[in-house]
Structure formats: structure tokens, C-alpha cells
Amino acid sequence: MKIAVLLRPVPDPVEELELSDDGTDLDRDFLGYVLNEFDDHALEEALLLKDETGAEVSVWALGTADEVDQILYTALAKGADRACKLGDDLGALDSRAQATLFADALGDEAPDLILTGVQAADELVGQVAVLVASALDLPHVEVVVGTEPVDGGIRVTKEFWGGITGDYQVALPAVLGIQAAREAPRYVAVSRVRQAQQEGNLEERDVTAPEPAPGVKVVEMRIPEAGEGAEMIEGDEAAAADAIVEILRRAGVA
């Protein structure tokens, strides 16, 4: 089995976000990037399938920014067999353009399974998994929380809500959007990542960005007012504890 995993760098969620001068994007000059957390789960699920079936795992990313290299080397250190980056300076691409690039590249590779994260927090359109599947005319299942290889395909568990899940048998090849791997994503020592970096086995493929289709334009971005509607408690932890105990009393629970 051949498994391809799509990896996307996103602005580090622990960092403070600031807006660009024209107010239609983030100020990206000093932003740190990390791997989208759901993609880490997609990679983990692929590596678990590799452990079980001996599958070959390749990881794919767009662009040549430093964080892309870092993410791909980390994936190699964790056990991915191949890492490939597509394109050079692609500029801003919408989801459909991104999906087209991946579909073109992966169409030639013909993996049995394409895994993505369920969503990326910085994307207005989203569902790249489904768009890649549509472009390649493959079946897809989003919000997957576990897979099991079986004869003639793969069995997947899709999460609905309230803890209700549904099981599906999916014919291969297929595309899955992973919400959570069966196990928490594995850690890898920094030294192993550095070693992968020294080995430097990143493949590069040239791709051309498609013409953007008319779609959706951001007019304004805002950072919602902190504590809009909330009464903010001032002072140190002792003052906060006093205030919170008072709130609990008024709510009739302390």
C-alpha cells in the first residue's frame, strides 16, 4: 500500500496574531509557523498503518518556505519514507488551486490512500481533502478518527456528534480527512530531525499555479474585542480567587 499525507504549515496558534496594514490579512512578517495539528494526526495514522501493513508513507507540502522543510524533515524523522515539496514561490493560492496542484502531482503517483488533516484554521474555503478527491474522482470520508486495513479496502470510523460514530468500508484508492489518529501523535527527538536534515532527502517538483478562479474576497479582518460582553476580573490570583468565589456564591454553587 502507498499512502500520501498532505502537510500544511499554519501560524503557530500560541502566538499573538496581528493584522496587516490594510486589514485584510495577518501581518505575516514575524509569524512563526507550525504543522497544522490535524495533519500531525493524519501523519500518525499513516505511520500506524505503515507499522501494521508495511505501507510506504510519503509526505507532501506546497512551497519552499523554511517551515515547509522543517515539517517535512520532522515527518521523515518520525518514519515517513519519502518527502516531496511542490513548487517554488507560489504566492497565495485558494483551496481549489491547492487541491489542483496536489491532485496533479498525486495523480501520477497513484497512492492507494491520501490522508489530510480534517481542516486548517487559516483557510476560508477548506476541505482540501474533498477537493482533491473530486479532482481525482476518488471517494472521500471527512472527520475520520481511526482506520483499519481490511480485504478489498479500508474500514474507517467517522465521527458525527455527541460521541456518535459511523463505520464505513471504503474502496481504495480513497482520500480521508483525519480528525484524530487512533493514538496520540508520536514524538521525535530533535537529534533525529537534525539527522534527517543532514541526510537532506527532500524531493522537489516544479508545478505551476493555476489561474485563480473568481471566488471570495476578504474585505476586512478583525481581532474580536477580548472580553466582549465579559466582565474582566483585575488583579493577581488572590484577587481573582476572591472574585470567582463570590461569583460561585451568587450562582448558588459555593
Partner: protein, 320 residues
């Protein structure tokens, strides 16, 4: 093209979901601005039996097809796309849920319509526009559609469900879209969650830990506080995905919806998928080191600071 709004409804085990009615309510508002009507699509095996639930719509389009057993990630988007082609609505509203995630973008791709996701509001008075939540709720974006038709994937809470339950004609129309289903995805059945040790939906007080709790060992401190307050500990998704607490303790979109008297959130950022499960709690108190955390947007009271400094102080006061 018509001036209508088409709402793609969803259902689980014969019951339409709450968000389906929220979208009909939103659709009514948009249809009034567009001078059109609200049509809803109810698709599935046994869909006809649900048609009379949609009196909030002007027209109820029913696709009752035995092949669409449960939810079919391959069939449902194809049926929705065929109905969009046949009815030509100006606006298509899809719930941004587990089902909607399989439906919305395939539908958009098949019909070549632009898609806007994470919408908390959609407007149609002056061109199509939406307000979207990005970066896990940390950023709000106002967007405009460049054409005159689009698909919007809408978060729960965009309009009151009650407003979408009546007020239309509810005329039922059975449609035969004759789609071809390749049958590559086969439903094997649903699994209900196992009952947990604690029912978090029945508690007066929930002490809720998010990723800010940092490690499994630190949960004990939250347990102690919850116990002292006569409540229980609940959690956000990452805490459960790490295996630190069972799934039955998860609040949110894919967890449980809770409405306790007091919801004390410790190190929870307040992503839209979490907020969906707790925004109706009577008193929400949030503690977070990040003053920008979106949880402060839904909380009634907030303190910017370290939960590990606060919890011992709170314990001391509550236990005495």
C-alpha cells in the same frame, strides 16, 4: 437562476438536526432580502417520513433513496449537487458539521460555485457576503462573493432554530435526480457512545480543562477543585485525544452539549467547535493566559492569568 435559497438539511437516525432549523431560519432572512423562497433538501433512506417537519421552508424537496442509508459521504454530495443543478438557487446553505464537511466542497466543486466556510453570518441585501471565524475563533473576517451565487458552510448558532421550524408553506415535492452512485463507500452502521463514569450533562458545576492543563498529572488538581464544588471535570478535545480523560468528558461539536450553572474553563482557548457545546451555560468563567483567547468572547467573567497560580488559591477558599 432563481432568487431562492436552498438549505441542505441533515438528520441522524430519523431526526433532523438542530442546525438544519438554524439554517432554515437564516435562509428565511436571506430569501426576504433576495425576494426569493426557501427550499430545503431532505435526502436519505426514509427521507419522506421527515418531510412534514420542515414547515419553516416554502418547499421541501425530498430525495428518498434506499441507497442513501445513514449518511453516505459519496452519495449525499452527489444528490445535493444534482438538486442544485436542477433548482438553480442563488444561495446554498450547508451545515458546517461532520456531514457538511463531506457535502459542501464536493457540491461546490461539482456545480462550480464558490464556497465560503466557517460562516457565523451570511448576508444578501447588497451582494452576497459573510462573516467567517478563522484561526480557531481568534480572527473574524468579512468576505464578499465575487459572483452572484455561492455555497456557504455555516457554523452552528448563526440563527435561532426556533425561527426555522415554522412560517413557510412546507409544500412537499418528491424529486428524482437519478444520480449515479459508484458505491465505493459502504455504511456499516452507527455506534452510540458508551456511558461514562460521570454524566457531564447532568452537573451543576463543570471545571473544564483545555490544553493549558499541560499534562495528565495536572488533571488531579482540577478534579480536587471540581469535587470541592460538588461538580465534575470536563475537557476540550485535545485533552481527550491525548487519552488523559475519556471521550464522555468532551464538550463540543463532536462531544457533548452541556448547560451547567457554572462552567469554569481553565486553559481552554474557545475554538468555535468547543463553544458550540457550552455557550448556553448559565455562568461561564474563563481563565486563560492569553488576553486574545476567544473564550473571553463567550464568557460572562474572565481572568487573564495562569491557571496553575489560580487553582490552589481557589481550592483554599472553597475548601475552607
Amino acid at each position: 437562476m432563481s432568487d431562492n435559497v436552498l438549505v441542505i438539511t441533515e438528520h441522524l437516525e430519523g431526526e433532523p438536526t438542530e442546525i438544519s432549523f438554524e439554517l432554515i431560519a437564516l435562509g428565511r432572512r436571506l430569501a426576504a432580502d433576495l425576494g426569493g423562497q426557501v427550499e430545503v433538501l431532505v435526502a436519505g433512506d426514509g427521507a419522506a417520513a421527515m418531510a412534514d417537519r420542515f414547515g419553516g421552508a416554502d418547499t421541501v424537496l425530498v430525495v428518498d433513496d434506499a441507497r442513501l442509508d445513514g449518511f453516505d459521504p459519496e452519495g449525499h454530495p452527489r444528490v445535493a449537487a444534482a438538486v442544485v443543478e436542477a433548482r438553480n438557487p442563488k444561495v446554498v446553505l450547508v451545515p458546517y458539521t461532520s456531514e457538511g464537511m463531506d457535502v459542501a466542497s464536493e457540491l461546490a466543486a461539482r456545480t462550480d460555485l464558490p464556497l465560503v466556510s466557517y460562516c457565523k453570518d451570511v448576508r444578501a441585501a447588497d451582494g452576497l457576503a459573510a462573516t467567517c471565524q478563522l484561526y480557531a475563533g481568534k480572527i473574524e473576517a468579512d468576505v464578499e462573493v465575487e459572483g452572484d451565487r455561492a455555497v456557504f458552510a455555516v457554523l452552528s448558532g448563526a440563527a435561532p432554530a426556533a425561527d426555522g421550524m415554522s412560517g413557510g408553506a412546507g409544500a412537499v415535492e418528491t424529486v428524482d435526480v437519478g444520480v449515479d452512485l459508484p458505491g465505493r463507500v459502504q455504511a456499516l452502521g452507527f455506534t452510540q457512545p458508551e456511558a461514562g463514569d460521570v454524566d457531564i450533562t447532568a452537573q451543576d458545576v463543570l471545571v473544564v480543562v483545555g490544553r493549558g492543563i499541560e499534562s495528565e498529572d495536572n488533571i488531579a488538581e482540577a478534579e480536587e477543585l471540581a469535587e470541592a464544588l460538588g461538580g465534575a471535570v470536563a475537557a476540550s478535545r485535545p485533552v481527550v485525544d491525548q487519552g488523559w480523560l475519556p471521550k464522555t468528558r468532551q464538550v463540543g461539536k463532536s462531544g457533548l452539549t452541556v448547560k451547567p450553572k457554572v462552567y469554569l474553563a481553565l486553559g481552554v482557548s474557545g475554538a468555535p467547535e468547543h463553544v458550540e457545546g457550552m455557550r448556553d451555560a448559565a455562568t461561564i468563567i474563563a481563565v486563560n493566559t492569553d488576553p486574545q483567547a476567544p473564550i473571553f468572547g463567550v464568557a460572562h467573567y474572565g481572568w487573564v492569568g495562569d491557571l496553575f497560580d489560580l487553582v490552589p488559591e481557589l481550592l483554599e477558599r472553597v475548601e475552607s
